[in-house]
Symmetry: C2
Subunit: 253 residues, 2 copies
């Protein structure tokens, strides 16, 4: 998501918070996700941001409505943009959605898709091993192919024409997915469309940064680990600068 | 670990705390692990326990010395018992250790083994995908075999005679490991030996519960999830009772 925003809005300063001390969010309960997301938003507001992207499908699924109600700054999730991207093809009608257990069991994608277009067939599939595989950097490993084969099988049986990557880690698996999917299945992720939504929202408010400004990327993590820098290098086109340790407000309850 | 303690010390009441809101610990930094472990111990002391088992290899590796210095109650880790179990065979000399990234990179096992017996060849291998595979219950899946094959290859090349399971999740993978390992390789885990250490320590202090007492198992989790109950059912011989939500003291900093 950072890369998509940098590409579309190169003049905007970005403050990134990664809750690495408590990740992954994907298999935790809605209540816990809502509490964590609230602490995350407070931290970012404390750093003077003008808009917030919840760049996590699980947090979007469980916490976005509550966050929008509670805070006045524009808060964008990744589900609406993903759904818009999936339905950009008027012929899409059999849609598979892969994501964490939290995202799939929330039925957030399934509801959002069904609200926008009637008659869709929607198949959600929880794929909890994909984040660990990406974090291990096994993007082209026989085990990854075995895992993907097992997860994709029920979706292929249903004859999907579109596969939504409902987790911000999954774009790194596109080459492996392409190998296993029939060529006519479209792969859809939300990063680019979400950056476009952000641009539109900032434009509407007349809050876009002046073009040509030298933008900054500030990275804050709740747990500092060497692995993050390596992973960030894989996701971003240029290496991130200094990474700071973030202190969030409340207790784990 | 709970099962091993129940089997050896059936009269002891057990208070279990699972920090499910922040798991896994295995890939987080030593500072974060120490802070989390300290909060965990305070919670258990608040529930009146007479001794504490740190039933997590990563937490033992990073936090045990500090915890023992800071608190007066007996605190047992899983590394010493594991090492004792591995060296129970006087012929063991080429020892493989598999565990999380945190456990392996701490070199806690490597140091503990080398201190006890000279001339050992010790090979540590981080195996971060095994916990997610166990949590997904893919104990007998082609992907699990692919993952294990990749992780075991460098250890088999070294001709290990002993393989230490340095993570409390791994005993569930014993059947899969047995299939892939030569029969002469011994598999060692720490649960039984650790329960024996606890019995010895409680005996020494004359703190053992009177035999025949009807013991209780209290389960506290920082995040309640349906998955835990299923997982607990797989680990324990009888299903756990009511599970409570735990509130830990401090902020994530």
């Amino acid at each position: 998501m950072v890369r998509a925003v940098q590409e579309l809005l190169p003049a905007e300063n970005i403050v990134y918070l990664g809750d690495t001390a408590r990740l992954p969010y994907g298999s935790k309960s809605p209540e816990t996700i809502r509490q964590f997301a609230d602490e995350d938003v407070r931290f970012l507001l404390g750093h003077g941001v003008k808009a917030i992207v919840v760049a996590c499908n699980t947090a979007t699924a469980h916490a976005l409505p509550q966050l929008r109600e509670q805070y006045r700054v524009p808060i964008l999730g990744v589900i609406e943009p993903g759904v818009e991207a999936a339905l950009a093809d008027p012929l899409a009608e059999r849609i598979g959605v892969i994501g964490t257990r939290g995202t799939i069991e929330s039925h957030a994608y399934q509801h959002a898709l069904a609200q926008r277009r009637t008659g869709l067939m929607i198949y959600g599939q929880a794929t909890p091993l994909l984040v660990p595989l990406v974090e291990e950097n096994w993007l082209d490993h026989p085990a990854t192919r075995e895992v993907l084969t097992t997860y994709l099988k029920p979706l292929l049986t249903k004859g999907i024409d579109t596969l939504m990557l409902a987790c911000t880690h999954y774009p790194l698996l596109v080459p492996a997915l392409r190998e296993l999917l029939p060529t006519e299945v479209r792969l859809v992720d939300s990063a680019t469309t979400c950056a476009e939504h952000l641009q539109r929202e900032l434009g509407r408010l007349d809050w876009l940064a002046p073009a040509g400004q030298a933008a900054t990327l500030e990275i804050h993590l709740t747990d500092l680990s060497e692995q993050f820098e390596e992973l960030a290098g894989r996701f971003l086109s240029k290496a991130p600068g200094r990474i700071r340790r973030a202190v969030l407000g409340n207790a784990v309850r």
